[in-house]
C-alpha cells in the first residue's frame, strides 16, 4: 500500500504540464538520435545528457528517462529498416524485422516493435514497482557457477540458429568466441591474440563487428543483386492485422517474463536475453520455419524482452548500483548528477527520487507509443528510397557508427573486414547470428567459469554440485538434444 502511495506521488510530480512537455521533448530527441544508424542508445544518451543540465532535478530526471526509452526504441527502427542494429539487443530484431521490411511490411514490423516494447516495458515496470527490493535480494544470491549454467543454457540457442548445417552454425559461433577473446584478459591483464598490435589490446569492438556483419554485408548483397530499393514490394498496411496482434499477445507476455527475470541478473546482457527470447518463441511456435523469413513474432519477442530486461535491469541498478548495459551506465551517471545514490537502502532513503523516476518511466513509455505509432508510415516509406541513395547513406552511417565507438579508424577497418567476412558467410551459407551470440556470451562464460574455478580452488566439481547450476546445464543439454532431434526429423 505504501508503495502505491509513493508511486502516486511520483505520478503527481511527473504528470504536470511542464514535466509532460519535457517527457515529450526527451522522447522526440531520444528517438531522433536513436534512429540515426550507428549512433545507438549509449552514445545517444551521452550526447543528449548535457541538455538536461539546465533543468531542475525532477524535469531533468523525467527528460533523462524519456531520452533513454526514446533512444532504445530508435535503435530497433534502423534494425528493421536498413538492417543496422542500433545496439546489441536489436541484432535479433534484424533477423525477421528486416525481412518484413523487404517484403513491404516495414509498417507492421515497426508498429509491433513499438507495441511490444510498450507492453513488455510497462509490465516490467509493474514488476519493478512492486517487487524491486526482494528481487534485488534474490539476484544477489546468484553466484558465478549459476551464471555459468545460465550461459550454457544460452549457448544452446546456437543450435537452433544454425540453419541447414550444424557444423557451419557451430563454426560461426566458434569464430565469434575467438573474436571475443582478442585483447587483454580482463581478469589477469594477459595479452591474448594481440600479434604485437596496440590496437588489438583493447579488443575487437562489438558495435564495429555488427555494423560490418549486418549493414555493410547487406549493401554488398544488395549491390550484387542490383537492388533498386530496400523494399521493392508495394508498401502494404502500416499497422499489423488484428489477428497478427492477437497472435503476438502470448509472445509479448513470454518475452516480458524472459526479459524481466533475466534482466534482474547483473551481467546478463539484453543482447543475450533477446536471443533467448527469440529462441523461446521459435520453439513455442507451431511454424518455426517462418522465423528468419519475416515472422512478426520474431520482432515482437526480442523487442519485448529487450524492454522488459531494461525494467528488470533497474533492480540491480537501484539496489546495487550495477548497470546491466552501457546505456544504463550512462543513464546512471546522469541520475547520480541529480543526487541518486544507489544501494540497498535507496528505496528507504530517497523514496521521492526513485518513485518519481519510476513514474516518469511509465510516462516515457506511453509518450513513446503515442509518438511513434503515427510515425510508422514515415519510417516505412524510407524503404522505398532508391537504393542508389540508400546504399551510400547506409555506408556513411556505418563508417561514422564504427568510428564513434572509440573515435578510431581501427574500428572502421574492423567493420570493413567484418563486412567482407559477412558477405562471404552469406555466400557460403554460414549463419551470422551464432557468431554474434557467441561474441556476446563468451566473455560472460569465461568470467563465470574462471570465477567458479577460483571459488573451488580449481576444482570443476563446483559446476555439478550446485543445484541451480546443474538444473541450468541440464536444461541447456535438453534443449540442444530437443533441437537436434527436431532437425533430424525435418
Amino acid at each position: 500500500m505504501e508503495t502505491l502511495g509513493f508511486l502516486l506521488h511520483g505520478f503527481a510530480q511527473a504528470l504536470t504540464l511542464q514535466n509532460l512537455l519535457f517527457a515529450l521533448i526527451g522522447s522526440v530527441l531520444g528517438t531522433l538520435v536513436g534512429v540515426l544508424p550507428g549512433i545507438g542508445p549509449t552514445s545517444g544518451i551521452a550526447i543528449l545528457l548535457p541538455l538536461t543540465g539546465f533543468l531542475p532535478p525532477v524535469p531533468a530526471i523525467i527528460m533523462l528517462a524519456a531520452i533513454y526509452y526514446g533512444a532504445m526504441y530508435g535503435g530497433s527502427t534502423t534494425a528493421i529498416l536498413v538492417n543496422i542494429p542500433g545496439e546489441v539487443a536489436s541484432v535479433v530484431t534484424t533477423l525477421d524485422g528486416y525481412q518484413m521490411a523487404r517484403q513491404g511490411r516495414a509498417g507492421p514490423a515497426l508498429a509491433v516493435a513499438a507495441i511490444s516494447s510498450f507492453v513488455a516495458g510497462t509490465l516490467g515496470l509493474i514488476g519493478l514497482t512492486f517487487f524491486a527490493p526482494p528481487l534485488a535480494d534474490m539476484a544477489l544470491r546468484i553466484g558465478p557457477p549459476e551464471y555459468f549454467g545460465l550461459v550454457v543454457l544460452s549457448f544452446s540457442v546456437v543450435v537452433s540458429l544454425s540453419g541447414a548445417s550444424l557444423v557451419k552454425g557451430l563454426s560461426s559461433a566458434a569464430l565469434g568466441a575467438l573474436v571475443a577473446l582478442v585483447g587483454l584478459d580482463p581478469m589477469s591483464g594477459v595479452r591474448r591474440f594481440g600479434f604485437g598490435s596496440s590496437d588489438l589490446l583493447g579488443g575487437i569492438d562489438f558495435i564495429a563487428v555488427i555494423i560490418g556483419l549486418f549493414a555493410i554485408t547487406e549493401v554488398l548483397v544488395g549491390v550484387e543483386t542490383s537492388l533498386t530499393a530496400v523494399s521493392v514490394a508495394a508498401l502494404g498496411k502500416l499497422m499489423p492485422l488484428w489477428d497478427e496482434l492477437r497472435s503476438c499477445v502470448g509472445t509479448m507476455l513470454r518475452a516480458t517474463g524472459v526479459g524481466f527475470f533475466l534482466g534482474l541478473l547483473p551481467g546478463c546482457t539484453p543482447g543475450a536475453i533477446s536471443f533467448i527470447s527469440y529462441d523461446v518463441e521459435k520453439r513455442w511456435s507451431r511454424t518455426p520455419e517462418r522465423f528468419g523469413h519475416g515472422a512478426i513474432e520474431g520482432v515482437a519477442a526480442p523487442e519485448g524482452a529487450n524492454n522488459a530486461a531494461t525494467s528488470g535491469g533497474f533492480v540491480p541498478l537501484f539496489a546495487l548500483g550495477l548497470p546491466a548495459t552501457p546505456a544504463l551506465a550512462v543513464l546512471l551517471s546522469g541520475l547520480m548528477i541529480y543526487g541518486l545514490q544507489p544501494g540497498p537502502l535507496l528505496f528507504e532513503k530517497q523514496p521521492e527520487f526513485v518513485w518519481t523516476l519510476i513514474a516518469s518511466m511509465y510516462v516515457g513509455n506511453v509518450m513513446l507509443l503515442i509518438l511513434n505509432l503515427p510515425l510508422v508510415g514515415l519510417w516505412a516509406r524510407l524503404c522505398k528510397l532508391p537504393y542508389a541513395i540508400m546504399a551510400p547513406l547506409i555506408l556513411i552511417f556505418s563508417v561514422l557508427g564504427a568510428f564513434s565507438v572509440r573515435n578510431s579508424f581501427f574500428d572502421v577497418g574492423v567493420a570493413l573486414a567484418f563486412g567482407a567476412l559477412g558477405y562471404l558467410m552469406v555466400k557460403l551459407a554460414y549463419p551470422t547470428a551464432p557468431l554474434v551470440l557467441a561474441l556476446i556470451l563468451t566473455p560472460m562464460l569465461e568470467s563465470a567459469l574462471r570465477q567458479s574455478l577460483s571459488m573451488a580452488h580449481g576444482s570443476p566439481l563446483i559446476l555439478v554440485t550446485r543445484p541451480i547450476t546443474v538444473i541450468l546445464i541440464l536444461a541447456g543439454l535438453a534443449l540442444t538434444a530437443w533441437t537436434l532431434l527436431a532437425r533430424r526429423r525435418r
Binding site: 538520435v33 540515426l36 549512433i39 550526447i47 540453419g163 541447414a164 548445417s165 550444424l166 557444423v167 557451419k168 557451430l170 563454426s171 566458434a174 569464430l175 568466441a177 575467438l178 577473446l181 584478459d185 581478469m187 589477469s188 594477459v190 591474448r192 591474440f193 555493410i216 554488398l220 549491390v223 550484387e224 543483386t225 542490383s226 532508391p386 537504393y387 542508389a388 541513395i389 546504399a391 551510400p392 547513406l393 555506408l395 556513411i396 563508417v399 561514422l400 573515435n407 579508424f409 572502421v412 570493413l416 563486412g419 567482407a420 558477405y423 552469406v426 555466400k427 557460403l428 551459407a429 554460414y430 563468451t442 562464460l445 569465461e446 567459469l449 574462471r450 574455478l453 577460483s454 580449481g458
Partner: protein, 147 residues
C-alpha cells in the same frame, strides 16, 4: 561446394591450431587466461575436421549461387569505393570525402542526370556534416580543407 567446404575446413583447422599455440604461449595457470583459448582451439580443430566429412557439411543444395562476373565486379567496386572512402577520410576531411564517395556511388548505381547527382550529393554531404560533425560533435578528421 565441396571445394569451398574443404577450404573452410582448412581455415578453421588453422584457426584452431593458432588458438592452441596462443594457449601454450600464455604464461598463466591452466584455469586462468589460457583456459578459453585452449578449449576453443580444440573445438575449432574438431569443427575443421567436421568440414572434411561430407555428411556433416550440410545439404548440397544449401549454398547460395555465387555471383556472375558483372555482379562480382559490382561487389568489388562497392567494397573498393568504401575502402577508398575510409582511407581518404583522414586526408580529405569528412565533407569532401563524403561528397566524392556519394557522387561516385550515385553515378555507378543510379541513373540520374549530372545536375540531380550533384544536388543529391550536396544534400547528403552537407546534411550528414551538419548532423554528425556540427550537432553531435563527432571528432572526424577535418583534412586539408579544415571541414
Amino acid at each position: 561446394m565441396r571445394r569451398a567446404s574443404l577450404l573452410c575446413g582448412g581455415l578453421f583447422l588453422a584457426l584452431g591450431v593458432l588458438s592452441l599455440v596462443e594457449a601454450l604461449r600464455i604464461k598463466d595457470a591452466w584455469q586462468g587466461a589460457r583456459l578459453m583459448p585452449a578449449a576453443l582451439g580444440v573445438t575449432l580443430v574438431a569443427l575443421g575436421i567436421g568440414h572434411f566429412l561430407p555428411s556433416m557439411a550440410g545439404p548440397a543444395g544449401a549454398l547460395p549461387a555465387w555471383p556472375d562476373a558483372p555482379a562480382r565486379r559490382r561487389v568489388l567496386f562497392m567494397f573498393g569505393a568504401l575502402a577508398l572512402y575510409v582511407a581518404g577520410l583522414p586526408h580529405l576531411g569528412f565533407l569532401l570525402a563524403t561528397a566524392l564517395f556519394v557522387l561516385i556511388l550515385l553515378r555507378a548505381l543510379g541513373s540520374y542526370s549530372w545536375a540531380m547527382t550533384i544536388a543529391i550529393t550536396g544534400a547528403i554531404a552537407v546534411a550528414s556534416h551538419a548532423v554528425f560533425i556540427y550537432w553531435l560533435g563527432m571528432p572526424v578528421p577535418s583534412g586539408f580543407l579544415g571541414v
